[in-house]
């Protein structure tokens, strides 16, 4: 792909992304969110982050790999426990990475 086409592509993707981000803020600037949408909004954050997490851990391209004889799922499990007990992002990432390095010695 030529650099010119690539620049155009990036500008289009960037523009679309901005429009997505502004869309609902713009639409509901002068009117109320319908009640059903407001209720659905409560679950946007948990659903999005669960989807992103599961996607990052278990989906590779269009293939799903749920194998448990790899260190990453176990390191992720340890990280979840730390996150749940402490609510601390730094500790979660730190312990998760440390767990991965340790577990890699055993797998």
């Amino acid at each position: 792909m030529s650099t010119a086409v690539l620049i155009l592509l990036l500008a289009v993707v960037g523009g679309a992304t901005y429009l997505f981000r502004y869309s609902m803020i713009g639409i509901f600037a002068n009117r109320n969110l319908p009640a059903w949408l407001r209720k659905l909004c409560r679950y946007i954050a948990p659903a999005s982050f669960a989807a992103l997490t599961a996607n990052a851990l278990f989906v590779h391209g269009d293939k799903v790999a749920l194998s448990l004889d790899a260190p990453k799922p176990w390191a992720a499990l340890i990280a979840v426990i730390v996150a749940w007990r402490t609510g601390n992002v730094c500790a979660t990432i730190g312990v998760g990475m440390a767990a991965l390095y340790l577990l890699k010695l055993f797998f």
Partner: protein, 250 residues
Amino acid sequence: MTTTRPTKLSEFLAGCRDEAPLQLGVAPFGMLYSIAALAVGMPAWLVQLSSALVFAGSAQLAIVQMLSVAAGALPIGLTAGLLNLRHVLYSASVAEYVRHLPRRWRLLLAYLLTDEAYAVAILRYQRQAAASPTDLKDAAPGQSMPDLRHWYFLGCGFTLWTCWQLSTAAGLVFGARIPPEWDIDFAVPLTFLALLTLLVRERASQAAALAAGVGVLAFAPLPYNLGIVAAILAGLLVGFGVAKCRGDRP
């Protein structure tokens, strides 16, 4: 409230402070993107420009990965676009909190509405909304407690934006020297995991998260990353349904 009155600066700094730990996951992500982009032959200035224009890590990485297999502009655009479609939902989710702001604020905050900034900002908005439901009505000018949470949001967005640009630049400079055995990419799902556990403190949210997580696996074969959007929508419906069954109790 008995605590000292928040100021614009204190809200902004609180946003920066709460966003900062997440940069442990954002920085490796930015560097990985840079390394991958250089490897497919993207010029360095364009790698950096893309971080400002697109400002969405997963889409930027997807573009680079598809360039490496010589995909066409149309499939790449579709994939990256659909990957970012979830931002429409984030936009809906913050809409009611930012509607009282001047347009220039809304335009700016929309630009900063990324995964990690959204997650931290929405926790702040929802926490305060739960404590005082009339909070938004109190936001009118001249009231005793002005709503300054957009400064918090700005702090989150600013911190993330700065880290994203710097880590992109760092990847351009130091990238080739990071050994792949370090698995720094694993910091990305760890960040999402940490955010997720903060977000699922009640039954309906847990159900929504579970459904979306399982949904991603079920919908993985869908083309152009449609699976992620489909999984999030499934999660929303399940959360909504569970809340309904439990009589909308939190």
